[in-house]
Symmetry: C2
């Protein structure tokens, strides 16, 4: 069995709450984390809630990074979904841990899209040279 994608669910506890309530800081952090992993950015979209909290998503060619912050609890939930083997999702996790000053991180890696592959063959990952965004 091979997996098309991998996903890290990250719980960032004991963060700097003021950073988690600063939408431009959170947006820049996710974009820089994606760049640090050499992901290909496609779009990004962030929203601030009143009085607290940010939701945002960075879509990358290799899948996505999503965040929801609860500054009042110094907590952020982050999903790092990647496919292919060109980028390392743990680079993104480490970058964000530093960005948010998280003192307590809990992460779980899941495999997504499991298929049996005949011997000698591989799953066709995205992105590769055959895949381009329209």
């Amino acid at each position: 069995m091979e997996a098309l994608g991998r996903q890290i669910l990250v719980e960032f506890y004991d963060c700097d709450g003021s950073k988690l309530n600063d939408v431009s800081y959170v947006e820049t952090s996710l974009i820089q984390a994606a760049k640090a992993s050499r992901a290909t950015l496609i779009s990004h979209n962030f929203h601030k809630f009143s009085p607290y909290g940010i939701s945002g998503v960075v879509v990358i060619a290799e899948s996505h990074i999503a965040i929801h912050t609860w500054p009042e609890y110094n907590y952020a939930a982050v999903d790092i979904f990647t496919c292919g083997d060109t980028i390392d999702p743990w680079v993104i996790q480490e970058y964000l841990k530093e960005s948010f000053d998280s003192k307590n991180v809990s992460s779980m890696e899941m495999k997504r899209g499991m298929f049996k592959v005949p011997e000698g063959q591989k799953l066709l990952f995205k992105p590769n040279q055959e895949y381009q965004t329209n």
Copy 2:
């Protein structure tokens, strides 16, 4: 311990691959699924890859729905992340199962953001009457 959010990771296998490669169909399906659950839509953003595959996210006040499709494998990975107790994420899962004609669904529910709560108190969920989007 109480959780701020819940997340369903859904593996939609054995779908109708042509539907999974139709970006407007996929986008409409996710938006309609969100509406069926009475979620509050904030934004949506979908991308088609060449020759196959779609990535898209619907941000809702209650968190997000994300999809990545592999039409060539008749497979879609969907994340349904909700917070608060005003919407039922399983309504979204059921709606999308029908939309994509998935004959083989595997789902896992995760709790996100676990906190100890003093007796008689509750976590402050988003959205509630105090929370509005800017």
